[in-house]
């Protein structure tokens, strides 16, 4: 038996001093040789045991795809084709999930090798398979195998929202033979992948490529349609056999404290949308403005906070992330925290904003209460914190609030869905809402979760929609 290699094969990253000057991708991923070397570390746990498969929200056969890379080591194209075929059984957007999944909490977090050394770098291997396949036209070939079945004759389905849940649901339904139309409110499809996640973490050309593949499967995307306003759910039901709602958690939570209306206080959604979707960092080539001062405070501890902080940094600001709990409580991916630290983002922990102070209508400082942790956890499993009665005021000319999102109410108001107390859409075990024929998934039903869970819902809903339509047509 070969000796266990405890250390990961590292992936190349662009040097800090170079990458902070632009928005291009930071991590460069594996080459074939390095990917194979990392794949060799995998213990190939049997499928019915492998903790990584159980740890993956969509249960990708991880030992299977890693094994394929090893099995066909003498023919990289074949190795990648087989690996991709295995991944696609459960996840059609590996180039994206390989980049944005919180692997340390999922597959990598439970990897057996991780008990004695570094877990297998599953995320980067997944990304490698997808990137290599794209660069060598392998996924196009595979797609053709599927596309033959995409004749759109089994029925018509409308998908609302072109984010991770909607795109996945549409792709799956198209492969089953449905004619799918996606309705998207913005002028570009992608949802959070296009407006939220920055280029340096997920290059937009990857998303564009995935969208082209959907087009090849016969999926039509209608942008500039806000369902609930442009068309209602009822109108969609008249035209389609079923509807899938993947509208995400689109509304930013703001802080209910004095000064929230001051200028230069952005929600992370506004800040990132201006930068990612509207390309405000390319003014004057692009027209959408952004105003960032020299001292930026980002409030929050999740991926969005890291994305906003690192974007502000790239616009030339000095950036501090202020989080109300401790370092170990932050929900951001470890890689993002590491990148933010490397790039010079500063952190303040156990501080809760209580007031924004302004001058001439613009923010000039944030007043925080210092917090301390308690030895108990809240309902979400996070450490409880209490105020200490001590305050600290920190100067800032720009503030970005990244404390989370809640479902956008527009679609709910017009359609009469039953909703949960937190505003999410109520669904049954098949992801069907209270309106027959209307299904929902992703953050619209979960509040605020991950890209991979949204994709998982999209896939599950596609199966349920297929069953629903077949049953309906047989009656």
């Amino acid at each position: 038996m070969p000796k266990l290699i405890k250390e990961r094969v590292p992936t190349a990253e662009r040097p800090v001093e170079e990458r902070v000057k632009d928005f291009k991708e930071v991590n460069l991923g594996y080459t074939w040789e390095l990917a194979l070397k990392e794949a060799e570390r995998c213990l190939q746990c049997p499928k019915d045991y492998a903790p990584c498969i159980k740890g993956c929200p969509v249960h990708i056969d991880i030992p299977g795809f890693i094994g394929a890379l090893r099995k066909y080591r003498d023919d990289p194209n074949k190795a990648v084709r087989e690996a991709l075929r295995i991944i696609w059984n459960d996840n059609t957007l590996p180039a994206i999930t390989g980049r944005v999944c919180p692997q340390e909490e999922q597959c990598e977090g439970v990897c057996v090798v991780g008990k004695v050394g570094d877990p297998i770098n599953i995320g980067k291997l997944e990304r490698f398979v997808a990137d290599y396949a794209r660069e060598h036209g392998i996924d196009e070939e595979l797609l053709c195998e599927f596309a033959e079945k995409c004749d759109g004759t089994k029925g018509k389905v409308a998908v609302v929202g072109a984010g991770p849940a909607g795109l996945t649901c549409a792709g799956e339904l198209a492969k089953m033979g449905y004619k799918v139309t996606i309705y998207e409110a913005l002028h570009k499809p992608g949802g959070v992948l296009v407006y939220g996640i920055p280029e340096f973490r997920l290059p937009k050309e990857i998303l564009d490529y995935e969208l082209k593949k959907l087009e090849k499967l016969g999926v039509e995307i209608k942008t500039d349609h806000l369902i609930g306003k442009t068309l209602t759910i009822q109108e969609l039901l008249e035209e389609y056999d079923a509807v899938f709602i993947g509208t995400g958690a689109g509304t930013p939570k703001l802080l209910d404290i004095p000064g929230i209306l001051l200028d230069r206080i952005y929600s992370a959604n506004e800040f990132l949308t201006r930068i990612n979707l509207m390309k405000a960092y390319k003014v004057p080539e692009y027209d959408t403005p952004i105003a960032v001062g020299r001292k930026v405070i980002v409030i929050g501890g999740g991926n969005t906070a890291m994305d906003a902080a690192r974007s502000a940094l790239r616009l030339g600001a000095e950036v501090t992330i202020a989080y109300r709990r401790g370092r170990e409580d932050m929900s951001a991916r470890i890689e993002e925290i590491k990148h933010a630290e490397e790039e010079g983002v500063k952190f303040m922990f156990f501080v809760q904003p209580v007031e924004f102070l302004g001058e001439n209508g613009k923010v000039k400082a944030v007043k925080f209460e210092k917090m301390k942790p308690l030895n108990e956890k809240d309902s979400r499993g996070k450490r409880k914190i209490v105020g200490t009665g001590e305050y600290v005021t920190v100067e800032a000319d720009t503030v970005i609030i990244a404390i989370g999102l809640e479902p956008n109410k527009i679609i709910l108001e017009e359609s009469g869905f039953e909703v949960n107390p937190d505003g999410t859409i109520k669904v049954d075990e098949n992801l069907m809402t209270s309106i027959p024929g209307v299904f929902a998934g992703g953050d619209a039903i979960r509040g605020e979760a991950t890209v991979i869970l949204a994709m998982g819902d999209g896939k599950k809903a596609a199966k349920a929609i297929d069953e629903y339509i077949r049953k309906k047509k047989n009656n």
């Binding site: 409110a185 913005l186 002028h187 407006y195 942008t223 500039d224 349609h225 806000l226 306003k229 442009t230 068309l231 689109g250 509304t251 930013p252 703001l254 209910d256 929230i260 209306l261 200028d263 230069r264 952005y266 929600s267 959604n269 506004e270 949308t273 201006r274 509207m278 390309k279 390319k282 003014v283 004057p284 080539e285 692009y286 027209d287 959408t288 403005p289 952004i290 105003a291 209508g361 613009k362 956008n408 109410k409 527009i410």
Partner: protein, 283 residues
């Protein structure tokens, strides 16, 4: 796929009308709602009021104010296409019988809203009174673009008195209130004067609704750029408005946010664009 421009016309030296083919928006639009459009792939998202939405086309009034409105005026002609056109957005105004319905406006979007709302209100059996204020006689729109045809009473004012009544809509509204002719008033245009209108009608308890213009990005409740303080609570103009009870809006904050947020960037973009137009010999 773009959205074809089907008509374009000067309304005054600084305002123009543009009509765009957008059947998906036109069929669903109701007074009080707005649209968001983008000129081209690198353009910004512009929220805009609507004058008319008929036969699959949406007609809007636009002031040559910043880069985008200038570019639309100088580089887009009938037959050209806009890159994106989204709507209708925001909440419609409830159309029912109120009695005497007044609409007062003193700027380009307000004038579009003036016609749009009073037309619907008149059809619903109300007595409609329109008050429209322009800078001077040169800035008054051609009659077909005024709210005259849908108003039982129409008052035109100019600030210098060169056409119609001398003064602002605030003066006319004050008189109408004194004559007890106002059951409900709607208004659109400059925020400073909307704030004054709110103070004018407050002591009389007259229901007063104003279109609260704010800087937006998506226009769908996704970013919070357009947040206003309404009755002490944060509301989004795009999703919860844009028409609000004017007595409950914190006008000082609304005015600050709308006027000052990107003023330097907008000035620079405009200067660069004007320079470009001059170099091309367009102006």
């Amino acid at each position: 796929m773009g959205y074809k421009i089907t008509a374009k016309r000067d309304l005054s030296p600084i305002d123009y009308m543009i009509e765009v083919e957008a059947p998906h928006v036109a069929r669903a639009w109701k007074p009080g709602q707005f649209v968001v459009f983008i000129l081209h792939e690198k353009g910004e998202r512009i929220p805009m009021s609507v004058f008319k939405a008929e036969n699959g086309r949406v007609m809007m009034f636009i002031r040559k104010l910043g880069k985008t409105s200038l570019q639309l005026y100088y580089e887009f002609n009938v037959g050209d296409e806009l890159y994106s056109f989204l709507g209708p957005l925001g909440r419609p105004i409830k159309i029912k019988e109120y009695g005497n319905v007044v609409f007062a406006s003193d700027a380009v979007c307000g004038h579009a809203e003036n016609y749009a709302l009073l037309k619907a209100m008149k059809e619903a059996g109300n007595y409609t009174i329109s008050v429209q204020t322009f800078e001077d006689k040169n800035h008054v729109y051609p009659e077909e673009f005024l709210a005259k045809s849908v108003a039982d009473e129409h008052y035109l004012t100019t600030l210098d008195g060169s056409a119609g009544i001398k003064g602002h809509y605030l003066d006319v509204v004050k008189e109408l209130i004194e004559k007890d002719k106002v059951d409900i008033i709607f208004a659109g245009g400059g925020l400073n004067n909307l704030a004054k209108l709110a103070e004018l009608t407050r002591p009389y308890g007259i229901p007063t609704y104003a279109t609260v213009r704010q800087i937006m990005v998506d226009g769908t409740g996704m970013c919070g750029s357009c947040r206003v303080l309404y009755d002490g609570k944060v509301k989004f103009a795009c999703r919860d408005g844009p028409v609000f009870d004017a007595h409950k809006i914190d006008w000082e904050d609304a005015i600050n946010r709308n006027h000052n947020r990107f003023v330097e960037q907008e000035k620079l973009a405009k200067e660069l664009y004007l320079k470009y137009l001059k170099e091309k010999g367009v102006i």
